[in-house]
Amino acid sequence: MSVKTWFIATMGRKLRGDPGASRFKRRVGSLFRRYFPGQLTCAQFERFVFDYVEGTLAARERARFEFHMRICPMCEVHFRSYVKAVEMGREICRADQRDAPMPLPDDLLAAVLDARREEE
């Protein structure tokens, strides 16, 4: 079997979720740990996202975090979309505050003023 045939068959099994897929993943995992010792896994990366965004991650962890982001497209997308989601929420909030708010509904305005009169 040529290398090309082996590669296609292996990837095919991986994509189909064949029992051989887990062996393939284990192989990739062991290669990852061998060539990138001491680097973060995706699960560890996810646990650091908050502190990285807050700027409270120690320098060594920050470097490991940034290295992982460079080699893992899924974590990079996860991180970028995390930041973007917060920005979108913030922007919507700003826009809602900026836009001239509607006057209070008449019945609510009346209820607030009545409540104060009753309190007097």
């Binding site: 990366f45 979108m88 209070l104 607030v112």
Partner: protein, 208 residues
């Protein structure tokens, strides 16, 4: 013209907040009405963001203005009136949240990132290159963001709204909620992660 009415007229003419507060302290009804009309809409919007429930927001607003009426004598003017009112409506909203029968907590299980057996993240590999500004030009996306925030569990939504959207720092948010700083951080991360997941269809490229 009563002294407080005089003060109110002065406030209207010069837009002087100090005079308005003085008229409020004197129990002037027109001053109170003016404050409700001017600041009420923003306060109501704030209560709606925190509570995501119209009835609860209305109750919170009423409670907030009663609280203004009762405690305006203690307002020393160290902060702007709007800041003081903002704090009052936040507290009234949080009180509503504690008082009201809680909505069944929504599970965030689906929103938590998934990892395979080796610890690799399972998820999209392509980001939608559109910027936040470009995305928010679409009204359906703006609506999705609002709905997604409203749909968060109460405990997560209030942390997100106070800390990320209203700009309170972590310590102030923790104090308002009566929880520790570390608990606040955990909730905030959960809320952000859940919001990210809800917005994933627009933040990543379909089919990736």
């Amino acid at each position: 013209m009563s002294p407080s009415a005089g003060r109110l007229a002065q406030a209207a003419a010069s837009d002087d907040e100090e005079s308005l507060v003085a008229a409020l302290r004197d129990g002037n009804e027109r001053a109170f009405s003016q404050v409700v009309r001017t600041h009420g809409p923003r306060m109501y919007a704030m209560a709606m963001r925190l509570l995501a429930d119209e009835e609860a927001a209305r109750d919170a607003l009423q409670e907030a203005f009663l609280s203004v009426h009762r405690s305006v004598a203690a307002f020393q003017g160290k902060s702007a009136l709007a800041t003081w009112l903002h704090r009052i409506v936040v507290n009234a909203s949080l009180q509503q949240l504690r008082k009201k029968a809680r909505r069944p907590e929504v599970s965030l299980e689906e929103e938590i990132p998934k990892f395979d057996e080796l610890g690799f993240l399972v998820g999209p590999t392509k980001e939608n290159p559109a910027s936040v500004e470009e995305l928010l030009q679409r009204s359906d996306i703006r609506e999705l963001v609002r709905r997604s925030i409203d749909g968060l569990p109460d405990a997560c939504r209030v942390v997100l709204v106070l800390r990320d959207l209203e700009g309170y720092d972590t310590a102030a948010t923790a104090e308002l909620l009566g929880v520790s700083i570390s608990a606040t951080k955990v909730r905030l991360h959960r809320a952000r992660t859940a919001l990210r997941k809800k917005l994933e269809p627009v933040l990543t490229e379909a089919g990736s």
